[in-house]
């Protein structure tokens, strides 16, 4: 490369500094909105004790539920008659499609709620912007999804796979709240596409019914 080219390349990089993923001016950054969300999550105990304890209860229920699930599995596998039943039910618990281990009631209920929310999504968006309570619910489910991913349950490869797909979809749903762009219809199509391609709703329903079936 000649010196002239090198100068030109530097000029290109300078141009990139002005144009590539150019951040908005500081006055246009949503810093207050971000802070509101940070404050709720980082300072919640002092400000919103009721809400925090509610999440603590949910988290505790999940942890206890997971413990019961593990204990059930241990007990079940130690009994010959139950072991036979496990072999029979194995095909519906494929690693790529759903949980490989029995779910606890709280996780089952949460998966059912997620399926219900996603089933209601098209109706919500047909009338325009999804209802605030709908988005709030999606946000709560997203948080629970991430809690589960970080919990011991997230180590189950089948459940983790399902939760990661669900997280991806829920993130898109939650993003619908903020963006009022003309591309909303396309965004909805993308969400629908993600749901269809990964069979998210059928897998959620199957996983949610696992507990009832095994019960």
């Amino acid at each position: 490369m000649t010196d002239n080219n090198r100068d030109r390349f530097d000029e290109l990089l300078e141009d990139a500094a002005r144009t590539y993923n150019r951040p908005p001016d500081e006055r246009q950054m949503p810093l207050d909105d971000i802070w509101n969300a940070v404050e709720v999550q980082a300072f919640a105990p002092a400000r919103r004790p009721a809400r925090f304890t509610q999440w603590l209860r949910i988290a505790a229920a999940l942890v206890i539920g997971v413990g019961i699930g593990r204990l059930s599995l241990f007990t079940a596998t130690s009994r010959p008659t139950t072991s036979v039943a496990k072999v029979d039910s194995a095909p519906r618990n494929q690693v790529a499609n759903g949980p490989t281990q029995p779910l606890d009631p709280a996780t089952s209920r949460y998966l059912g709620q997620a399926a219900a929310l996603l089933i209601a999504l098209p109706a919500e968006t047909n009338v325009g912007r999804p209802d605030e309570s709908f988005i709030k619910r999606a946000n709560e489910l997203l948080l629970t999804t991430r809690l589960l991913l970080d919990s011991e349950s997230g180590s189950d490869p089948g459940l983790r796979n399902l939760l990661e797909d669900l997280e991806l979809v829920l993130v898109q749903v939650v993003r619908l709240e903020k963006e009022r762009s003309p591309s909303r219809r396309t965004e909805m199509e993308l969400i629908q596409q993600a749901l269809d391609q990964r069979d998210v709703i059928p897998r959620l329903r199957t996983a949610a019914s696992e507990y009832a079936a095994d019960d």
Partner: protein, 198 residues
């Protein structure tokens, strides 16, 4: 090279150790002050790395939530700005691996004109839009460690010392990564070389 100059040494003059102590005691106002001092640069870096306002918002939020939750672990060995930028880069890198799957489906939606608007306000030589787009795609295609280094140094004006501290590597490593990144960009634009000379 002219830089945007948003380097770490521009940290606002606040008594950070005191602020941090207050935050650890649960003082939300101190938290807000600490946030105000660093959020614009964190958002700016997250935006540069993602090219998406909503992702930049989400990752900035995640960065500060994590920072406040782990504040007790911050010992002050490095500057707070270095520490929080390190969290930012980690948050963005981890999350973008997931987002990339989504991005592949969203490619058709990308409005390159709005993402890379025309420049020239400062009277610099006009850049061919095709060349600009080619460069943008070449930057996007860089390996993550090269891309982060290039964006921080050439686009955001961080020094090698700052980048090395944020990424936890030696300065020499940082320099060699930048050199490799530039070499890859030049290679990607090689067939435009004749246009350079014209």
């Amino acid at each position: 090279m002219t830089r945007t100059a948003f380097a770490l040494q521009t940290t606002p003059k606040v008594n950070e150790p005191e602020l941090i102590a207050r935050v650890l005691a649960g003082d939300r106002l101190a938290g807000r002050e600490l946030y105000d001092a660093h959020a614009p640069r964190v958002f700016r870096l997250a935006y540069r790395l993602t090219g998406d306002a909503e992702l930049a918002r989400e990752f900035t939020q995640d960065t500060f939530v994590r920072a406040f939750h782990r504040l007790a672990d911050f010992r002050g060995d490095a500057a707070f700005s270095t520490w929080i930028h390190r969290i930012t880069v980690t948050v963005v890198a981890n999350a973008m691996r997931k987002v990339r799957r989504l991005r592949e489906r969203e490619t058709d939606l990308t409005d390159l004109d709005s993402a890379h608007p025309a420049s020239g306000k400062d009277g610099s030589r006009r850049i061919d839009p095709d060349l600009r787009e080619r460069l943008a795609k070449a930057i996007d295609a860089l390996p993550e460690i090269y891309r982060t280094t290039l964006i921080m140094h050439d686009l955001e004006g961080y020094t090698h010392t700052e980048i090395a501290a944020v990424l936890g590597v030696a300065e020499g490593t940082c320099k060699s990564r930048l050199s490799a990144a530039r070499a890859q960009l030049r290679a990607a634009l090689a067939d435009f070389a004749k246009e350079y000379e014209s």
